[in-house]
């Protein structure tokens, strides 16, 4: 795991900026029905980060297979590929100070072009694509950059309201350098009219926070006659300056 220590730069050891929990969704959002019984009712206990949260696992490139960042091919039979609009999703993982986060493990999962997930608990009538699994992963480069290739997922109906549909979306799981940065979110697509209707999107109060989860079409990064491109940057918690802070024991 740690054999791939990145670059010569000194690892940062400061605590992270406090999370803005009014910007993030609240736990209890009754229009997203499952949250009702799965949200704590008591206040969270606030604590400054300790070494248990400042540290976190870092993953080496040795975990990556050749096709891990190519969902069009990583489940497909030899010579075949997944059906659907071919896209490249690219961007950077930054922290709140605007610094690129190198070595961040990104994992993503999604439905196929018809909105069908490859999961045994899923019973939507749209068929599975025999050449599409729906999972991928990559690790950001020295500048925090990443890219992967996939097909654009379809919208998907779900039993919340009697006629609720998720917008097209890709789920992202992100590791930074500290366990306190751990984040799961969803990427939406520019111009999708389902975005403002979605109860899960609406767990977020601030429209700017929603725009920040909406990828933008980038014709400049498309591969002509092959794939369109969407840009999606992800921001993780930044680290505080330790200038006037007591150093931790042994630091």
């Amino acid at each position: 795991m740690s054999e791939n220590r990145l670059s010569n730069r000194k690892p940062e050891t400061g605590a992270f900026f406090q999370r803005d929990r009014e910007w993030h969704p609240q736990g209890y959002t009754p229009w997203y029905k499952t949250s009702v019984l799965r949200s704590p009712q008591k206040a969270l206990l606030s604590l400054d980060n300790t070494i248990s949260e400042i540290t976190g696992p870092v993953f080496g490139h040795n975990i990556l297979g050749e096709l891990d960042h190519d969902l069009i091919h990583n489940f497909a039979k030899p010579g075949e590929s997944a059906i659907g609009p071919r896209i490249i999703v690219y961007g950077r993982v930054l922290d709140e100070r605007g610094k690129g986060v190198p070595g961040a493990l990104l994992e993503f999962w999604q439905a196929n072009a018809g909105g069908r997930y490859r999961h045994k608990k899923e019973g939507y009538i749209a068929p599975l694509d025999p050449n599409f699994g729906g999972c991928g992963r990559t690790i950001t480069d020295e500048d925090g950059g990443y890219a992967f290739r996939t097909i654009q997922p379809g919208p998907y109906p779900w039993p919340n309201g009697p006629n609720d549909w998720r917008p097209a979306h890709i789920h992202f799981s992100v590791f930074g350098h500290g366990f306190a940065q751990r984040l799961i979110t969803q990427m939406y697509f520019e111009g999708d009219p389902l975005i403002p209707l979605c109860p899960i999107v609406k767990t977020i109060n601030d429209p700017v926070a929603i725009s920040d989860l909406t990828a933008v079409l980038d014709m400049g990064a498309t591969k002509p006659m092959d794939s369109r491109a969407y840009k999606f940057d992800i921001v993780l918690r930044g680290r505080r300056s330790t200038l006037f802070e007591n150093r931790m024991e042994g630091n």
């Binding site: 297979g65 999961h119 729906g134 789920h171 350098h177 366990f179 969803q186 899960i200 601030d206 024991e249």
Partner: protein, 204 residues
């Protein structure tokens, strides 16, 4: 007008949804052949130092029903109290112990299970030693932002009594929600998302 701090906002969290397994534990989701194994399945290699333990538990919703679609990750120090992380500055952790584990709750029983080692003690910011603990992060359908908590060990009464984090819990009746029961072969740590037995969750 004043100058700008030039800070970005953290990407807002969204629920992991019911199909989190597709992305994070595809082999468990029966999507074979993409990754050789699911990440975080094995925490301790054969040569890992320390006492081997198994941590099991359930996550209950507000009706007492176990979640069968949750995903749990844990992060902990090695037997000597060192983290396997580039941000660990006090020394080098046991190379045979990753410190990080990931486990979906069973689709039938709702149980999670980690085969790990008992962590050593690590210091609080002021140098006081914290009691041995494991950091938990829980995501699932219906959970809009990952829940952070800690598991302490029921057989570490003296260390728990002087732990600076446990000491911060104003309502002392809630302290036991963070303490795992010693059982045959390891520890049992049940998590209650809401209600009378609600686990203490952290904003950290």
């Amino acid at each position: 007008m004043v100058q700008s701090l030039n800070r970005l906002k953290e990407s807002a969290s969204q629920t992991a949804g019911p199909y989190v397994h597709i992305g994070l534990t595809p082999n468990f989701a029966e999507i074979g052949g993409v990754y050789p194994e699911d990440l975080g399945t094995q925490m301790a290699g054969e040569k890992a130092k320390g006492e081997r333990i198994v941590i099991t538990g359930h996550i209950f919703d507000g009706t007492g029903t176990p979640l069968k679609d949750a995903l749990v990750e844990i992060w902990q120090a090695d037997a000597d109290g060192l983290y396997n992380s580039p941000s660990e500055t006090r020394g080098s952790a046991d190379p045979n112990f990753s410190g990080w584990g990931r486990c979906p709750t069973d689709m039938t029983s709702g149980e999670f299970r980690f085969e790990t080692i008992k962590p050593g003690r690590v210091p609080f910011k002021d140098g006081r030693m914290m009691a041995p603990h494991v950091t938990f992060w829980i995501v699932a359908r219906g959970i809009n932002i990952g829940l952070q908590t800690r598991m302490y060990f029921g057989d570490e009464e003296a260390a728990n009594a002087e732990d600076p984090v446990l000491a911060r819990i104003e309502h002392r009746v809630r302290v036991p929600t963070l303490i795992a029961d010693k059982v045959d072969g390891g520890y049992r740590f049940d998590i209650h998302l809401q209600g009378e037995k609600e686990t203490v969750f952290f904003d950290i």
